[in-house]
């Protein structure tokens, strides 16, 4: 597996790609926070937020519908929110009884569900855009600058760096299981459920020990190359005038969206 197998970065030379990673992180979090602060049913404000997102998409040169096409990952969870339509507040519209549970569809519930859907959809797209225009190591570096404890960012950096190595290890384990699991046409294979779970457990234990012992070797190798407990980076981040300008204009736009949501 290639080292970049899990990367979500799309290389390009755009305004967003060149922006300081800290600005990108702060703006993304502010955008998600702004969505959470908008009251239910503030459709005009949600629309403006979506326009802001489309502008950002266009500025990334990855295509206006770039994030939209990748945003369906959060939709399975929507099933959970569907039950929001039965909130006890608001005017009841319809009523059913399913398996002894009384379900009352309310107008407030429908507005609530639509708003949750939009909030989630917008927020997921903001996250997708963030990792598409920022290399992951830069992102981690930005979090370090934003005062996230170095212990955490370093753990995340290791996780990112070795994820593909351990995934290769898992694929080897799965291939080994496959190779030893003959299936005869028309016959039941693989013994009991308990037995199958036990095999998966032994694989997890095996993977755990291989990872544990690998971390020992990695640590020794790093120590040999002068590791002092501190991650180093070649790219020093500096805020330029353009970074400040974009930061404040986006925050201003978000404030306007909030205002629209409150008045509208």
């Amino acid at each position: 597996m290639h080292a970049n197998a899990f990367d979500r970065y799309y290389a390009a030379e755009s305004l967003l790609h060149r922006l300081d990673p800290r600005v990108k992180v702060v703006v993304t979090v502010a955008f998600i926070l702004s969505n959470a602060l908008l009251p239910d049913g503030a459709w005009a404000a949600f629309g403006l937020a979506w326009i802001l997102l489309l502008v950002a998409n266009a500025a990334s040169q990855l295509g206006v519908d770039f994030t939209f096409r990748r945003s369906f990952i959060a939709l399975p969870f929507m099933l959970v929110a569907v039950s929001a339509v039965f909130t006890p507040l608001g005017q009841p519209l319809m009523e059913w009884t399913v398996w002894g549970i009384r379900l009352t569809l309310t107008d407030a519930g429908i507005i609530r569900f639509g708003s949750i859907l939009l909030r989630t959809w917008l927020s997921v797209q903001a996250g997708i855009l963030l990792v598409a225009v920022t290399p992951f190591p830069d992102l981690i570096h930005a979090f370090e600058h934003l005062r996230v404890p170095a212990v955490l960012t370093t753990i995340v950096a290791f996780l990112y760096r070795y994820l593909f190595v351990l995934t290769d290890e898992v694929l080897r384990l799965l291939r080994a299981r496959e190779a030893r699991s003959a299936v005869v046409e028309g016959q039941k294979s693989g013994r009991t459920l308990f037995w199958r779970a036990q095999i998966a457990g032994h694989m997890a234990g095996q993977l755990f020990l291989r990872s544990y012992e690998r971390s020992d070797r990695i640590y020794n190798a790093m120590l040999a190359r002068g590791y002092t407990g501190q991650m180093r980076t070649l790219r020093a981040h500096t805020m330029r005038a353009r970074d400040w300008l974009i930061l404040f204009s986006v925050l201003l736009a978000l404030a306007l969206i909030q205002l629209t949501g409150r008045i509208g």
């Binding site: 949750i116 170095a150 370093t154 351990l166 457990g201 971390s215 640590y219």
Partner: protein, 313 residues
């Protein structure tokens, strides 16, 4: 690369701001404590270890076993990590895993990450390690494995239970629907988790018995964890059947406390500068907002303080 999202990760937009912030505060406190505890215990060597173990949890979630009818059981790994590495390291490992899942794969939101980390990292460490610590000095391998299995199962169920409560309190889902649904699904998912955890732990005990010696386990987390683990487990065990039997009652409580209304109104209370003339403020929501504000500041100070202390010049 294929990546299958797990069913427990709450996305942004599903929890209201008050709930999100409360759980961010709890998570920040737990993580800050974990950072200072792991820093005292082992120092810089611990960091690469926790990083690789975080990658292990990520990769191990690809391990599956066929159950029936095309579905398969997956491995979440939180309880195993807490038992083998200790609760503090377990919390940090799960925090890193959940952060990367949210940042890189959009599996779980950023604003609600505090709740996700608490449900799947902190709660799992409390129940997983706390219950195991109860029997870690025992000579019976069977007893230790059995308790580890129950702890893994219970931590999955408790995480689902707390997630359902958070969704219900946020007014995102009706508790009478989401509570039985989440509990039902995770009662079964938890069995797979328990079985895999037992088998994995048995394998580790067999191959590297030195890792699981009683005094090394005791080093990773004191007896206080037993108290925490037992109390949290008891609450989960006693409350979940009670709540699923009478979710309407719980919803009534949420409504009376003003949580549901806060969920519907968007939390203006958090921003005292925004006085909205046509929206009344309940005294309780103001109090909650005040407490949350103080706790957020306190939590941030603890984190920043420990981060500054840790950083070598």
């Amino acid at each position: 690369m294929h990546y299958a999202p797990a069913p427990l990760h709450i996305p942004d937009g599903f929890l209201n701001l008050v709930i999100s912030l409360i759980f961010w505060v709890l998570t920040i406190l737990a993580v800050a404590l974990a950072i200072s505890k792991t820093g005292q215990a082992l120092g810089e060597k611990q960091i690469p270890l926790m990083g690789i173990m975080a990658a292990f949890v990520f990769a191990a979630q690809m391990l599956n076993f066929p159950v029936a009818g095309g579905t398969s059981g997956h491995f979440l790994g939180g309880a195993l990590t807490a038992i083998v590495l200790g609760p503090w390291a377990g919390i940090l490992v799960m925090t890193a895993v959940i952060a990367v899942q949210a940042l890189l794969f959009q599996d779980g939101g950023l604003l609600v990450m505090g709740a996700n980390i608490f449900d799947m990292g902190v709660l799992t460490a409390m129940i997983g390690f706390g219950l195991y610590r109860l029997v870690s000095a025992s000579n019976s391998r069977t007893l230790k494995l059995a308790v580890a299995g129950v702890a893994a199962w219970l931590s999955t169920v408790a995480a689902a239970f707390l997630t359902a409560i958070q969704l219900g309190l946020s007014g995102t889902s009706s508790l009478s629907i989401v509570l039985p649904a989440m509990l039902g699904v995770h009662l079964i998912i938890g069995i797979g988790e328990g079985l895999i955890t037992v088998a994995a732990l048995a394998f580790i005990m067999q191959t590297r018995p030195d890792l699981m010696q009683a005094d090394r386990v005791a080093e990773r987390g004191g007896r206080g964890w037993i108290v925490v683990g037992v109390i949290v487990s008891l609450v989960a065990v006693l409350l979940s059947p009670l709540a699923s039997a009478d979710p309407d009652g719980l919803e009534r409580v949420a409504e009376d406390l003003g949580f549901l209304q806060a969920g519907l109104d968007a939390p203006y209370q958090i921003l005292p500068d925004y006085t909205i003339p046509f929206l009344g403020e309940t005294p309780l929501s103001t109090i909650v907002a005040g407490i949350v504000g103080v706790l957020v500041v306190l939590g941030l100070m603890v984190v920043v303080g420990s981060a500054l202390k840790k950083k070598p010049a």
